[in-house]
């Protein structure tokens, strides 16, 4: 008995050590940026740089726009990746290497090549996507889904590895569930953590993304707006980095809260 509880205590100390070290590594560069952002006025510490950003209507407009794009990108990513990864694990394991390779392609195709490729393929016949506002935004969302694909696929695949897909499916089928039910009431809930990871990564990818947004919608998106500020407004760009960091973090917290109502962990993988 005693051995086990001291086991646990040592284990916990070890865990805290890692968290503290990690926290230091993460926080110190942010503190350095924050410190710089407070120096908009010579010789004194002031939030002037933050004021200027918050008073800028373009900040709100572009952040909202990118947030909307992120929402659509997350939904499309999840709807695309989860059923596919699940299906491949279950029925078509030979396709797994191919799917994984495809999911890694966005890393090696430079964003600048991707954006011009997308424009070339989809602006002319037969798609004509860029002739309408909605079409242009749809193209942008598709591009974002591509950029986030490596992360979402890997997160979902790892999540699937941790649950026993075959047994769950067979159990559900033996209870008479159709594929829709299996997907949405068995698979998705069990992959909650993995899906959340993918959603976080997609959100962060979209908010900060520059190349795709700058050529498809220009300074309407948040990434190009950040670049515009960064070019000639030093203190504002530092404060903007902190602000976008905090805001994105807050939104992830919201997503996490949305998940909180349900049991932590997974049906098939309780700690």
């Amino acid at each position: 008995m005693k051995a086990r509880s001291s086991h646990a205590r040592v284990g916990r100390l070890w865990a805290w050590l890692w968290v503290v070290l990690g926290a230091l590594y993460f926080i110190v560069p942010l503190i350095a940026t924050f410190d710089f952002s407070l120096r908009a006025k010579k010789g004194e510490l002031t939030f002037l740089a933050y004021e200027r950003i918050f008073k800028d209507p373009e900040f709100w407009r572009t952040f909202t726009f990118s947030l909307q794009m992120a929402f659509f990108a997350i939904v499309v990513s999840i709807l695309l990746v989860v059923p596919t990864a699940y299906w491949i694990r279950l029925r078509l394991p030979r396709l797994r290497p191919m799917a994984e390779f495809i999911s890694m392609l966005p890393f090696v195709v430079p964003a600048i090549v991707l954006v011009f490729g997308l424009i070339r393929v989809f602006s002319g016949p037969p798609f004509h996507l860029t002739n309408t506002f909605t079409g242009t935004n749809a193209l942008l969302v598709a591009g974002y889904v591509v950029l986030a694909l490596p992360y979402t696929y890997r997160a979902v695949d790892t999540g699937l590895a941790a649950i026993d897909v075959r047994t769950l499916t067979e159990a559900a089928q033996s209870l008479g569930a159709g594929w829709g039910t299996i997907l949405f009431r068995v698979v998705f809930p069990n992959l909650r953590v993995a899906i959340l990871s993918g959603a976080f990564l997609t959100l962060a990818t979209v908010i900060g993304e520059y190349t795709l947004a700058s050529f498809i919608v220009g300074i309407k998106a948040f990434g190009p707006y950040m670049s515009l500020v960064g070019q000639n407004r030093t203190y504002e760009s530092a404060s903007l980095a902190i602000i976008s960091f905090l805001l994105t973090w807050a939104f992830m917290g919201l997503i996490q809260l949305f998940n909180r109502g349900h049991a932590e962990g997974q049906l098939a993988g309780a700690r």
């Binding site: 010579k42 011009f116 242009t136 220009g218 300074i219 190009p224 670049s227 000639n232 030093t234």
Partner: protein
């Protein structure tokens, strides 16, 4: 009844007078005003798509705002961080696209002029003030035309560096250890390449021999003065790269933006003063050709040229403006002293492109290899 008729007449009279006055004032600019038909056609198109125009580069922010409010045309700004090659690629990728991703007008380095024509990327247009643009800064058929120029200068953070360097040779002094940086990658950025080019001129090179410039940077790296980071306003302000080389108008824009926090000094070096010209052109595939032409008329009118001057750039019609005393004093005061410009050297397109090729090829060998 009577009062209504009267007020109706009064209102129409007011409108008429206002219109007359407006047309009169528009006639006072630059001697020639934009053609009314062109304005109407441009307004019908309703939008202009630009690319690669940072707001503090030659005061483009104010230029765009003024254009928008003057003509009521929406301006769709793409990629403000784009390089010249990005702009050209954007035209090529959007050949079939009439949507808002296709740039109507571009602003690129002068070295790209011949390529624009050779690849059929631009359409010819001669603005009303065409004749006042110097002959060596435009294509005779009107495919491209110089818009502004500046010279390469040192931007120095005076709060960190007490002894401001005045010339290229000063940069090698030990007091500047770990303080000197370029504002781009010489293999890709025009500003960085011109820095090497200018260093060449100051160290025994000529417009046709850029090797001494590479040697200079090699030496700068060897004595430990060179910091291998791309310098921006933020790294200068932080004090990480207190001495950098960039176009004088960008340095002046930084000085104004930082407003003394920290104190910035813009120094045009005593030797090795190289000037760089940028050019405007209208895309051959522009979805809004009339808006593009109106934009050009605006840029090359006195009003447009003076807005660029406000940003510290020398507009291409500078000599014409000066000769007609059209430059207000407070704007003239923003420019660096004219004597510094007396020594400015303007390389030809062929010389620029040849130098760029040499720099791009040899940079890594001469300097990069030591930076590990």
């Amino acid at each position: 009844m009577r009062t209504r008729k009267l007020s109706f007449r009064l209102v129409s009279l007011v409108i008429l007078v206002t219109m007359l006055l407006m047309s009169c004032t528009s006639g006072q600019e630059g001697g020639v005003s934009a053609d009314d038909d062109l304005v109407a056609a441009a307004k019908k198109e309703g939008m202009l798509t630009t690319i690669a125009l940072p707001h503090d580069w030659c005061n483009y922010g104010e230029v765009i705002e003024t254009f928008k409010s003057k003509y009521g045309i929406e301006v769709n700004e793409l990629n403000p961080d784009a390089g010249s090659a990005d702009e050209i690629e954007a035209i090529k990728a959007n050949k079939n696209n009439k949507g808002p991703q296709a740039p109507d007008v571009i602003d690129v380095g002068v070295g790209f002029g011949p390529q624009l024509i050779a690849e059929g990327l631009v359409m010819p247009y001669k603005v009303a003030t065409w004749d006042t643009i110097p002959a060596d800064a435009k294509d005779p058929d009107g495919y491209w035309y110089g818009d502004y120029y500046g010279v390469l200068a040192f931007e120095v953070n005076k709060d960190v560096v007490q002894n401001v360097p005045q010339d290229w040779a000063d940069l090698l002094k030990p007091e500047y250890k770990g303080q000197v940086a370029l504002s781009g990658d010489p293999r890709a950025s025009a500003q960085a390449q011109m820095s090497v080019y200018a260093a060449a001129l100051a160290n025994g090179g000529t417009l046709d021999n850029v090797e001494p410039g590479l040697e200079f940077f090699k030496k700068l790296n060897e004595v430990g003065n060179f910091v291998p980071v791309i310098a921006k306003q933020s790294t200068v302000a932080k004090g990480e790269t207190p001495v950098i080389m960039r176009w004088d108008y960008n340095a002046l824009a930084d000085k104004e933006a930082l407003a003394g926090n920290p104190e910035i000094e813009v120094v045009i070096p005593k030797t090795g003063v190289i000037a760089g010209v940028y050019i405007q052109a209208i895309s051959a595939y522009a979805p809004h050709p009339n808006a593009a032409k109106l934009w050009m008329e605006f840029l090359y009118s006195d009003e447009g040229q003076l807005l660029w001057l406000k940003g510290g750039c020398h507009p291409i019609r500078y000599n014409d403006l000066a000769a007609r005393n059209a430059i207000p004093d407070e704007i003239a005061a923003k420019l660096p002293p004219a004597e510094a410009y007396a020594k400015a050297v303007f390389p030809t397109i062929e010389q620029i492109n040849a130098a760029k090729a040499v720099i791009a090829e040899k940079w890594m060998d001469v300097v990069g290899a030591d930076v590990k």
